[in-house]
Amino acid sequence: MAIVKDSGFEALEKLKSTEPPVFLAPSSKSEEARAASQHLFEKLKPYNPKSPFDELLVDGFDAEQIWQQIDMQSQPLLSSLRQEVNRFAKNPEEIRKLGNLTLKVSQKDDVDEMDMDGSESGDDELEANESEGEEEEDEEDEDEDGDEDEEEKNGDNEGIEDEFFKIKELEEFLEDGEAEEYGIDYKNKKGVAKKKKQNLRDDDDEEDDEEDEDDEFGAFAGGDDEEADKLGKAKYTDFFGGKKKETKVKWKDLSEDEAEFENDQGDVKLSTHEKERVKLQSKIEQMEKANLDPKHWTMQGEITAAKRPKNSALEVDLDFEHNARPAPVITEEVTASLEDLIKSRIIEARFDDVQRAPSMPTKAKREAKEMDESKSKKGLAEVYEDEYVRTANPAFAPTTFSDELKKEASMLFKNLCLKLDALSHFHFTPKPVIEEMSIQTNVPAIAMEEVAPVAVSDATMLAPEEIFSGKGDIKDESELTQEERKRRRAKKKRKFKAESAKEPVKKARDATTGSEGL
């Protein structure tokens, strides 16, 4: 191991001494370089437990392959180193411990590590290691200062402090709280700055954040310490070489990458990815153009005929509701079916004739007072009188015209009913007794008693004297002789005179009327 180590170290020494132009061409230095890189690899191995390689495999391997191995080892190493740095930023004491231990135990190794330079492993790694080494130094110095400050603080507060309560711890606690609330800026400005800068270097894409954080750095980073000044002077520009340049550089990088790709693989042929990309670009351009152009008339919402091109509605498949049923297409089948229907209906005699709608049920017509067009027989007073009587005493009210009509109608109907009943002898009902003045009709008794139609006989009820009461010959006017006429006249005169002799006594009383003279 020592031999190997020494050989490796020797190789490193040799590489250091060689001129830079020698590296450009392949030379015998390659073996030395390999040995040197192996040595370095072994040195770094203990700090990197995750690495898959125990030693750097060099024999029969390509430069690419060796580089890959180194890369695989160094990547996790870098991240672990970063974590370590962050940890140290939070807890400066640990640095002290570590620093003391390392200084005491393996000074040599540290020296070797710190003095790394000029190897094929890559500039980035070297730079990282160098900067990390610097940072470690700075942090160690800071911690020493911090320790001094802490010792001073302890001396002042002996009166208040207890075994339970220490002002130093209180202050630390407060600072921790503030750090949590406001970010770590408050506690350790310099540590934060460093950490953030490291993050920036890793994240190339977030340019905006970097700019904002630069502003923040301007606010916070401005301490009186020398170390702070050093770090404060380490600006964005140091890392990225100016904001404007950066963007251009980026684009240039991309295009350069593309150019490199093309140059690498020929001018005409594109990789599948590139082809897809080109296609996509063209598509995107097309879509963008379509978006910017005015829309097709079908997409413009409500369009009148004036706004769309002529006959354009014919070309488009329009869909709208038809309120009317479409006209039936007359085919042979349709006509045949209709004719069958007609025939069957005729056979059945089931015609859909329009039936007269049934008239409304007639209400009982109100008793309409007849328009009497003749002079009323009653005076106005009597009219009102009758009305009053009707309202006051309905019983004594005289019958109205309608009442009389009703009476007459009912009488006629009763007569009719009686006659009809007589025709059917089964149930004999006698004539209803109407309380009227008895009417003596000159009808034979047999006719009154018997209902059945009677034969011819004409026997009268009245006595002969009742029929005619007279004496002697009865002669008609035309049969009388002259003497008989004279005799009659004389008789008449005598009678009249007798009567007029009684009357003048009566007439004398009546003064107003003029007496009708004889």
Partner: protein, 214 residues
């Protein structure tokens, strides 16, 4: 001290009782207007002179016997005079009698005019044809003919359906009846004057009178 004075005031008001409200018997017609006798004078138009002579007793009897109003005919002045008597119960009797006589003078029959004596709510309304529409010459004659109808049937129809009595005296029209009935009769007469045919007036009359008589 103040209380005692107050107390005195109250007692003073209480001790003097208010006089009793005077109760008067209703005034007789005779005593009204400070006991003077009241007159009504109704002039007789020349065309009503002989009908008055014929129906005099029918006028005289109800006024003298039932209304208890003195009535006489002033032949010289051609006026019928009415006077309250001592035993006329109410002053309205005189007025009713006067209205009755006036109605007769306008041309109403005795049985129709008598209703004025018997009922309070009857009135007489008069208007001229020219109030409704200015008609001249033949138009006027035709209007009068339309009003009466053939044999007076239109007039009777209106009279019977509205319970009124109508007198058409040349260009004057008088209607006797209750207030609402007068209105209906008047509207139908006016429509006849304006020119509507009799049939139309009948139909309207029918509906209105049916509603009236309900």
């Amino acid at each position: 001290m103040a209380e005692s004075t107050q107390m005195e005031v109250e007692t003073a008001t209480q001790t003097a009782p208010l006089p009793a409200k005077p109760t008067f018997k209703p005034l007789k017609a005779h005593e009204m207007s400070d006991g003077k006798v009241q007159f009504r004078k109704i002039s007789v138009p020349p065309n009503r002179y002989s009908p008055l002579k014929k129906a005099w007793l029918d006028i005289y009897t109800p006024i003298y016997d039932q209304m208890k109003v003195d009535i006489r005919m002033n032949l010289k002045a051609r006026k019928v005079e009415l006077k309250t008597r001592a035993d006329t119960p109410d002053i309205s009797n005189l007025q009713k009698s006067a209205d009755f006589v006036h109605a007769f003078m306008l041309g109403f029959d005795i049985p129709d005019a008598i209703s004025l004596l018997r009922m309070d709510e009857l009135y007489v309304e008069s208007f001229e044809i020219k109030d409704v529409k200015t008609l001249k010459g033949e138009h006027l004659s035709r209007a009068i003919g339309r009003l009466s109808g053939k044999g007076g049937k239109t007039k009777f129809a209106i009279e019977n359906s509205t319970k009124t009595r109508i007198v058409i005296a040349d260009t004057r029209i008088h209607i006797l009846g209750a207030f609402t009935n007068i209105k209906v009769a008047r509207s139908s007469l006016c429509s006849l004057i304006m020119g509507s045919p009799a049939g139309k007036v009948y139909s309207k009359l029918r509906s209105v009178s049916a509603r009236l008589n309900e």
